[in-house]
């Protein structure tokens, strides 16, 4: 933390809060985001994939799988489900690779398919389990939370959001997609994405407030 921040957030004033540092605020929450440099040349790899270049599948799988797994992990409960969805997503991507138009951004195309896979996976699971877990209240802070950061973590926080809002926040903050890319990935408009994100942050702030008031009592 910079010296200025130390003055503003002296030790002991807000000991229970995780302090957002200056760079986090300036960047608008970028620490979770997968660096965009890691997605460089994706469009070229996609074109080579369509042309059956044998190196392309490994390059694309290596570059995109961590972000996709993180996306699925934030949408479903278990790591096993997320792994299954990741494999299913790649199979779906392979089947419909002809629908990618060279020159178009790759990330919205990938996330649109991943989103569909997640919806199909959810429906399939629901058919099997026939029960749902209520997520209306903010879940307990998990024990694996960072020792420096005893407040709620990203995953526990967004778990309290409705599915559509969680999806948008995850794509924005974890996937590192722009508003336009999220709009493309969700077959929506930029205005609708902004609205969902705004409602999500409002809801999260209220939930944090409730939690804090509960903790104070």
């Amino acid at each position: 933390m910079s010296g200025v921040s130390k003055e503003i957030f002296p030790q002991g004033v807000t000991p229970h809060l995780a302090a957002a540092n200056d760079s986090q605020m300036e960047s608008g929450l970028q620490e979770n985001v997968v660096p965009r440099q890691s997605f460089a040349n994706l469009d070229r790899w996609m074109e080579r994939y369509q042309q059956a270049d044998p190196e392309a599948p490994a390059a694309l799988v290596g570059a995109l799988s961590p972000a996709l797994l993180r996306f699925f992990k934030s949408q479903v409960a278990s790591r096993e489900q997320a792994d299954d969805l990741l494999q299913e997503a790649w199979l779906r991507i392979h089947r419909v690779r002809h629908t990618y138009r060279p020159g178009e951004p790759v990330l919205p195309w990938i996330y649109a398919i991943a989103r569909r896979v997640r919806v199909d996976g959810y429906r399939r699971t629901r058919r099997i389990t026939l029960h749902e877990i209520g997520m209306e209240l903010l879940p307990e802070v998990p024990t694996q939370a960072d020792a420096r950061n005893p407040g709620p973590t990203f995953d526990t926080l967004v778990a309290a959001l409705p599915q559509a809002q969680r999806e948008v926040v995850t794509m924005l903050k974890v996937g590192g997609l722009t508003l336009d890319e999220v709009a493309r990935a969700t077959s929506s408009t930029v205005g609708a994405v902004k609205q969902k994100a705004h409602r999500a942050y409002e809801r999260l702030r209220k939930l944090l407030q409730i939690q804090e008031e509960g903790g104070a009592r």
Partner: protein, 276 residues
Amino acid sequence: MSYSMNCKDVAKALSEESRLPLQAQDHVRSCNLCRELVSALNSSIPVDPPSPATLRQIAKGIGTNLRPVRPLAPARHFFRAFVGIFFSIVALDVYRRGAFAIAVMTPLQTAAILSVLAVSTGLLTYSLVHQMVPGSRHRISPRLPPVGIPISLTIVIAVLFQFQHEQNFWENAWACIRAGAPIGALAAVAFWLMLRRGAILSPSMTGAATGLLAGLVGTSVLEIHCPNLDAWHILASHLGAAMLCALAGLVIGLAAEVNVYAADSPFKREPQGDIE
């Protein structure tokens, strides 16, 4: 003059910009809740990356027997093709049946109803063309046209034409539906031939939109051909034919969707991506 932000402004700023403006940063520094929100959204939870073995397995799975595929044609080509199919079927059918309605409608009625049908066709075609490619930019939500167009057409018909009490209402309506629905079915087959390589994301939504577009082919033919200007008749049979087609498209799309997610593990199925 300085403008101080409150918590709502910060939430708005977070949803609009990737970098928080200075005023928002000032507020975050002074507000525990906003600071906690920013920090929590920014916190990183270690998620084990996929194992190299898993990645190798996936890459090997999709790389086996990899064959080149031809990307979808540009959107404008599909747009022209859809519009071409639409107007070709309308023109051929009107030529065969005769344009009797044009003779009895006022110029205002003719211009208004045909304009609304043309705009509806354009909107639906635009939406469908963009639904073909995942991750396309939608200036209008794809959910809007299948709902908004029937409502708009209902309002326009109710405003343009008079409600009368005609005899043999159901016989006349049934005759028009029997004429309009098969035209819609024919158009739907042609549209499906165009759509079958894409539109993989939401079969139910695409089905409803395709059905409605195909149904509007029948509606357009009936609007030009049928001289019955009773608003009830036009709503029940001319627009009804389009609604029937949209419903059929929705049902087929839903069936396709259920077929996808109810299937066993996808890894048990044969990959079908190698089209060319």
